[in-house]
């Protein structure tokens, strides 16, 4: 902890960073995202198991960008997000300093995208065994059951767009739901509008989702939205190879192709 606070203080005092995006104590014994701009406030920074938010979402928020160069407390999800944003030309080399808290209380400081690439863990499987089990469970339902399951889940949607707001990859200045000539996704939170929204979000994240789970965590009505992204990421990995968020230079799976992509389903 003190290592993190010291590193943050150094960065702010030297002017190398204008803001440290990290975690602070929150309500009811939880943690919350915290932006530290004043070196005398670094004592508010914490880092432990409660710190689950994907802070990378703040890197592209105009209000945070306008503060100057950020340093960010880098969980694995944050590092993957930075690399994915870099591959989409949203973050450039040396735009952000990542501070990785280490088990011994020290902090590793990553200045470049190359260093971040080196620090991101590269699991063998796209999904963890638990995630895979959850998907398998739904996949084992009949098609009609799957339809009812998701209609039921979507029926709770309030269209508050917390899923979008909490997602580092949802940075479009104009979202498809805000396009109204024509209105592709109905605005009201009726079944058609809710299904349309969640399917379009899943498709627009295809090959880009770093599987941080922030959409599901942010959802005030507990819709397991990350499952939609996981099923796509798994398909992308199996069919095209690769996984989002591991490289700053990867090309987007859906803006490229090979001539022998699967076409057994095409007549």
């Amino acid at each position: 902890m003190t290592g993190l606070q010291d590193a943050a203080r150094d960065l702010l005092q030297s002017g190398e960073a204008a803001v440290v995006i990290g975690f602070g104590g929150g309500s009811a014994g939880g943690a919350r995202p915290l932006m530290v701009r004043d070196p005398t406030s670094v004592g508010d920074l914490i880092f432990d198991d409660r710190c689950v938010h994907n802070l990378a979402v703040y890197l592209l928020k105009p209000e945070v960008k306008s503060l100057g160069k950020p340093a960010i407390v880098g969980t694995q999800a944050v590092l993957r997000s930075i690399l994915q944003l870099a591959s989409e030309q949203q973050v450039k080399d040396r735009d952000v300093i990542a501070l990785i808290p280490e088990a011994d209380g020290g902090v590793r400081r990553l200045e470049t995208l190359g260093e971040i690439e080196g620090a991101v863990s590269k699991p063998d499987a796209v999904l963890s065994p638990e995630e895979q089990n959850c998907l398998d469970e739904i996949a084992s339902l009949s098609r009609e059951e799957r339809w009812r399951f998701w209609q039921e889940e979507f029926s709770r949607c309030l269209k508050c767009y917390a899923c979008r707001a909490a997602c580092p990859m949802c940075y479009c200045s104009q979202c498809i739901v805000e396009v109204n000539q024509p209105q592709w996704i109905p605005v009201p939170a009726h079944p058609l509008g809710n299904m349309g929204w969640h399917l379009v979000r899943a498709m627009h994240l295809a090959g880009r989702c770093v599987n941080c789970g922030e959409c599901a965590r942010a959802c005030p009505v507990d819709i397991p939205l990350n499952l939609l992204n996981q099923v796509i990421e798994k398909e992308v990995a199996e069919q095209f190879g690769g996984k989002a968020g591991l490289s700053a230079t990867a090309s987007y799976a859906l803006s490229t192709f090979t001539t022998d992509d699967k076409d057994t389903f095409i007549r």
Binding site: A139, W184, L199, Q239, T258, D261, F265, I266, R267
Partner: protein, 150 residues
Amino acid sequence: MAEFEPKVTAFVCTWCTYAGADLTGTSRIKYASNVRVLRVPCTGRIDFMYVLQAFTQGADGIIISGCHPADCHYTSGNYHARRRWIVLRALLDFVGVDTRRIHFAWVSAAEGAKWADLVNSVVSNVRELGPYDEYRQTIPAHIRPGGIAV
């Protein structure tokens, strides 16, 4: 009750499948009249939202067809489209959309007979599946296909 006549919406590229469907007609090959053909420049132009919109507007089945691999007028539009469909099918299947109602094909400008076969088989397929009421139930009454009750 009258026999169910499926509505099938076909999104076809202008260079291959649309020309192929033209050839079907000029070759005087008869095929099911249940299909509504919508011409787009290239299969790469087909946003997946078209699929949802077609169902929303009353389609019971959907055909998406364009140039064979290596034949795209724009070199690679169909390859990009193919990737999108691979992903889309996985997603729609996972959420329980009836993917038996969505058919993908490559039909060239020379394949008038293939177009007729494709349409006939999709129509008979969808006829067996029946109207897509499951999807229609998600549509609020005021925009449900077939007009509005006031």
